[in-house]
């Protein structure tokens, strides 16, 4: 009896949860569907759901009209580059804070975090003028620099919390067994640090890919990543829903897939370890 009640309850919960899940996901689903419609079908009233002539024409048009691939590459280079650069700077810092903590380590960590609290608009003017004078406006390298700096505190923090979980005794044991610092790093630490580093990389690529303040303000046609390129659809000409959908689908697909893999790390990274 008790069992049948709980099964019934489970079924009701299932229906309810799926309905809400699909409702929340619906705008994304609708965008993906619309990207395969003709422009006429995209605004059809009543809306067409699945029974339309599927076409990939929009994807070709978006590429032809505005060289979509170039903006896609800009996004790749900017998010990948800033993550890599951030990692190179952050790994040694997080490493030494986790394994050779000093009195002021905590203060340094907190201070790094406080730089993240700075509202970007507070430094928009100087950064814009510096970029203009240094010739960095609308360049990929300029954006790589800015995104590295704004995400550096998160990278250091995430790595720190992961490194902190590696037990120090293992290092000591390795040292006792006569391992050199080099082999200690290669054979003992790296294998244990890799999962944490992978999650950090994933989360930072996502954050950099979607960053939409500096990318919009510091780029024009040349170095614009997808965030800024998509914004050009805000002043459209003629029918454009299907093309907007195609451009959007391609812009969010890679990060959606990455995001689903990193959902656990997301909590930890975005709360700076405050919720695990």
């Amino acid at each position: 009896m008790a069992r049948s009640v709980s099964t019934q309850r489970k079924l009701i919960t299932t229906v309810f949860a799926w309905a809400i899940g699909i409702a929340i996901f619906f705008p994304i689903l609708w965008t993906i569907l619309t990207s395969f419609k003709t422009e006429a079908a995209a605004i059809a009233d009543p809306p067409v759901w699945f029974n339309f002539d599927w076409t990939v024409e929009n994807y070709a048009t978006v590429q032809e009209r505005s060289n979509y691939f170039r903006h896609f590459m800009n996004s790749m280079i900017i998010s990948g580059g800033s993550t890599l650069l951030g990692l190179i700077i952050a790994v040694p810092a997080a490493w030494s804070m986790a394994f050779v903590p000093a009195k002021r380590t905590k203060d340094v960590l907190m201070w790094m975090l406080s730089t993240k609290m700075l509202p970007p608009v507070g430094v928009l003017v100087p950064i814009y003028l510096l970029f203009r004078d240094l010739g960095l406006l609308d360049t990929r390298i300029g954006l790589v620099i800015v995104l590295t700096l704004i995400n550096l505190p998160i990278i250091v923090w995430m790595l720190y919390t992961y490194f902190k979980e590696i037990p120090g005794e293992i290092l000591e044991a390795a040292r006792m067994d006569g391992a050199s610092l080099r082999s200690e790093i290669i054979h003992v630490l790296t294998p244990m640090a890799i999962p944490g580093m992978a999650s950090t990389v994933l989360l930072n690529i996502i954050l950099a890919w979607n960053e939409a303040f500096w990318t919009l303000n510091l780029t024009a046609a040349k170095a614009a990543p997808l965030t800024a390129f998509i914004a050009s659809y805000s002043s459209p000409e003629g029918l454009f829903y299907a093309k907007l959908s195609a451009a959007s689908t391609m812009a969010i697909a890679p990060i959606l897939i990455m995001g689903w893999f990193s959902q656990k790390q997301l909590v930890r990274g975005l709360t700076f370890g405050a919720v695990k």
Partner: protein, 290 residues
Amino acid sequence: MATKHSRMSARLMISPAVLLLLGWMLIPLSMTLYFSFLRYNLLMPGMEEFTGLTNYRFFLTDPAFFAALWNTIALVVGVLVVTVIGGILLALLLDQPFFGQGIVRILVIAPFFVMPTVSALVWKNMFMNPVNGLFAHAAKALGLQPFDFLSSAPLASIIGIVSWQWLPFATLILLTALQSLDQEQLEAAEMDGAPWIKRFWYIMLPHLARAITVVILIQTIFLLSVFAEILVTTNGGPGTASTNLTYLIYMQSLLQFDVGGGSAGGVVAIILANIVAIFLMRMIGKNLDA
């Protein structure tokens, strides 16, 4: 025990990160502060002169500032209310046993990964457009007059869009916190005959308090800086109906080229953000000791 040598190398390993962040903070901040005391317009090069607090006086007495301040608060509070309440309800639901938990979870968190310009444009055109949007189609099907969301209720519409983007974040964090709750405590309360609402109020909610605080503080930091969603939907309008502080300062500095005034606004924004940041830092700092 750390040796002198390892301390030295540790310091050496930290210094690049520290120096870069120090530069990133100090150089632009001091420039913003300096510009805020100047009459400095990019359209009038060579005319810069010291004007004391004039920029602040103009910025803080501008009616647009009050509108923007109010809109900023409404946007932050509005999104917080929707996402925190919605997040708690969703977390409670997703914590129940049902078929396909993993897939529903994936569907629910998806909006968080959509870049702001895409989600704002998709909502603006394909849902909220008064002629071709899905909401208009639905209204017509029901015999109602289509509603022009972004002109008639611009701020509320933006709150809706931003809430959709942040609901997954709140849900995910609250769900994580909920799953760390001691199940035995709940079962004991259930056996003692405590009804669901009491179990929620006296056991679950206190347990979630920390996570809720973290959600509120972190979201506030990001929500104070909402920009792209406004840029691609309403451009802050009509009038100043959907201009927040970030957007006002952007207009002043990069569209009107008023570097001095924009910088004064920037300083004001920094002060406001810092008030929130102090609380957040305390929360996180406490956790660091544990």
